[in-house]
């Protein structure tokens, strides 16, 4: 009992972690918190669906097409909205990212209908007993991909010159451009990378959740995971996601499943108030 609760909560946690990684990537890389990211995840899954059901592509070809389309989407988001707003107020940028998410969600609602669509698993969804605990390969894939993405991003940011360039561009764009970093190219790449990551997350997550235009509300769980992890820390995002998954499973089992979501939002507010640097992050002080 405890074992299977743990395994299912880790799957949910890996979903949150995957979305949280996207938030952290965009925030660490460009300094923007993208409030429409959850909707971008949904949109990615729908891209596969559109390729399959309306163009008649095979599933694997549709997945490849969706990944290519999401490269374009990321480029459009940066070039058409985030670049023109680079000097706008924080308020305007927050509202713009909310608006982007709403546009994606309402686009899906208008053209794909408000109802849920069936979405196939990439891997088998039949469970295999391993040592008394049922393991589902499709769920294992989510955990695996989350960890792989984490490792890849961690290596890029911490071990390569490109990662240093990204961090420099975000920290001080004037300074970075003075030492030869092409800041707008760096930001463009970040947005494209985040967009592809959103589509990957969407494809993995859609069969688990219900694929409807409102699936993007999962984004707030991704936020909570990112906040738990400190918002700038990649390993923190994954740890925060897993922690949130386990907390929710415990709350659902021992308190009430109706209160599960409320508890995770309350955690969000509490962490923001008490430990804004997250459970694992370092405190950065604002100097006056």
């Amino acid at each position: 009992m405890a074992g299977s609760v743990l395994v299912s909560s880790i799957t949910a946690g890996a979903v949150y972690a995957l979305i949280a990684l996207g938030f952290v990537l965009i925030h660490k890389g460009t300094g923007v918190v993208h409030f429409g990211y959850g909707d971008q995840v949904t949109f990615g899954a729908y891209l596969v669906l559109i390729g399959q059901a309306f163009i008649g592509l095979r599933f694997d070809v549709a997945v490849a097409g969706a990944l290519i389309a999401s490269v374009l989407l990321g480029a459009i988001i940066y070039l058409a909205f985030m670049w023109p707003l680079r000097n706008a107020s924080l308020l305007a940028r927050i509202i713009a990212s909310l608006a982007l998410g709403t546009v994606l969600r309402e686009f899906l609602r208008s053209y794909m209908g408000p109802n849920a669509w069936p979405f196939p698993f990439l891997l088998s969804s039949t469970s295999v007993p391993v040592g008394g605990v049922l393991i589902v390969p499709a769920n294992l894939a989510i955990v695996g991909v989350a960890i792989a993405v984490l490792v890849a991003l961690y290596l890029i940011f911490d071990r390569t010159i490109y990662g240093k360039a990204i961090l420099a561009a975000c920290e001080n764009s004037t300074g970075a451009s003075l030492v030869g970093v092409h800041v707008s190219t760096v930001f463009l790449l970040i947005w494209i990378l985040a967009s592809v990551l959103a589509t990957v997350a969407g494809i993995l997550v859609a069969p688990l959740l219900t694929l409807s235009p409102d699936m993007g509300l999962i984004g707030i769980k991704g936020f909570t995971a990112a906040v738990l992890g400190g918002f700038n820390s990649l390993p923190g995002a994954v740890a925060g996601g897993i922690a949130l998954g386990i907390l929710e499973a415990l709350a659902g089992t021992y308190v009430s499943s109706a209160l599960k979501d409320m508890i995770s939002y309350a955690i969000l507010i509490a962490v923001i108030l008490v430990r804004p640097q997250g459970l694992f992050g370092e405190l950065t002080l604002k100097e006056v």
Partner: protein, 316 residues
């Protein structure tokens, strides 16, 4: 002074003449615009003037609707009294939420207020015994000294005066020392604090005002729709109110009215495109925040400046 008197007289004449020229349904729409504008006025105060982003407005509206409905159903409190009691309580809730701003701003404030809205909506959905759960609950009919106000034609005489008085109050607030302190905080908290402004108290007061206005607006919207549906008080709706404020012009009370008129009337003209309505609103928000972040009202004042032949200054 005479200009003001004339303006006031004209407003009164239009107010009493309009019911003779407009159909019942049009009066209903006027009420809808006014009540929505009141909700959005809350965003104008807290976000437009005081500069604190808030996605809590949908929760305030929901509380403002459920409060009087529950008070009437459980304790037999008259609806008008219920709306006032609830608005004061929600104002206090807003003040408490404003205390968050001591430690939180920017992104995290947007997140925290978003989580607040989500929690309140879930509370509506899961407190079946009190709120009717996901199905929602009936909003009781407004009765004042034996008269019932149930239709657009009768509610007109309640909604418009209430909204008018509150707009006047906010107009005065903005031009008072408190309002100027709000604006100072928006421009620079550090500078405002250096001038001796109690930043936290003012930010909390702005949140309290937005809660109060949102709750009254929510009560009036409940009276107009006669039914409270918990799906109407979520994050999506919070973004909708923000969109109304942005399109109208977030820094001006007039913007709340202009934005509400656009968002209430556009669906009438686009009846053939009902499915695309959400997309149209979302695109409006996106286009305005990128190209015209100060909304339609600023567009109008710029046009007036051009027509007036004054030299236009470069975009600030």
């Amino acid at each position: 002074m005479t200009v003001r008197l004339l303006f006031g007289a004209a407003v009164l004449v239009i107010f009493f003449a309009a019911p003779h020229f407009l159909a019942e349904f049009q009066l209903f729409q006027v009420c809808l615009i006014a009540a929505t504008a009141l909700v959005v006025l809350g965003i104008v105060v807290v976000t437009g003037i005081a500069g604190q982003i808030s996605l809590a407005q949908a929760a305030f509206v929901g509380l403002g609707g459920y409060g009087p409905a529950i008070l009437a159903a459980r304790y037999g409190v008259p609806v008008w009294a219920g709306i006032m009691i609830t608005a004061v309580v929600v104002g206090a809730v807003g003040y408490a939420l404003g205390q968050l701003t001591l430690r939180v701003s920017g992104h995290y404030l947007a997140l925290a207020t978003m989580a607040f809205t989500a929690i309140v909506q879930l509370a509506f959905i899961h407190s079946d015994a009190v709120t009717g759960g996901a199905v929602g609950m009936q909003m009781p009919t407004l009765e004042i000294s034996g008269k019932t106000f149930a239709s657009g034609g009768t509610l007109y005489y309640v909604v418009l005066p209430v909204v008018g008085v509150l707009f006047l109050a906010v107009h005065n607030l903005i031009h008072s020392p408190v309002g100027r302190a709000f604006a100072a905080i928006r421009q620079s908290e550090t500078a405002a604090a250096a001038m001796g402004i109690d930043v936290l108290a003012h930010k909390s007061a702005a949140f309290a005002a937005s809660g109060f206005l949102g709750a009254i607006g929510g009560g009036l919207l409940g009276l107009l729709s006669t039914y409270l549906d918990p799906s109407q008080f979520g994050i999506t709706q919070a973004v909708y109110y923000l969109a109304v404020a942005v399109v109208g012009g977030m820094q001006f009370p007039l913007g709340a009215i202009v934005g509400s008129a656009v968002f209430v009337l556009v669906p009438e003209f686009l009846q053939a495109f009902q499915t695309y309505l959400g997309l149209v609103f979302a695109l409006l928000l996106l286009v305005f925040i990128v190209l015209r972040p100060n909304g339609l009202v600023s567009l109008a004042s710029d046009l007036l400046r051009v027509v007036g032949g004054k030299q236009q200054r470069g975009a600030a």
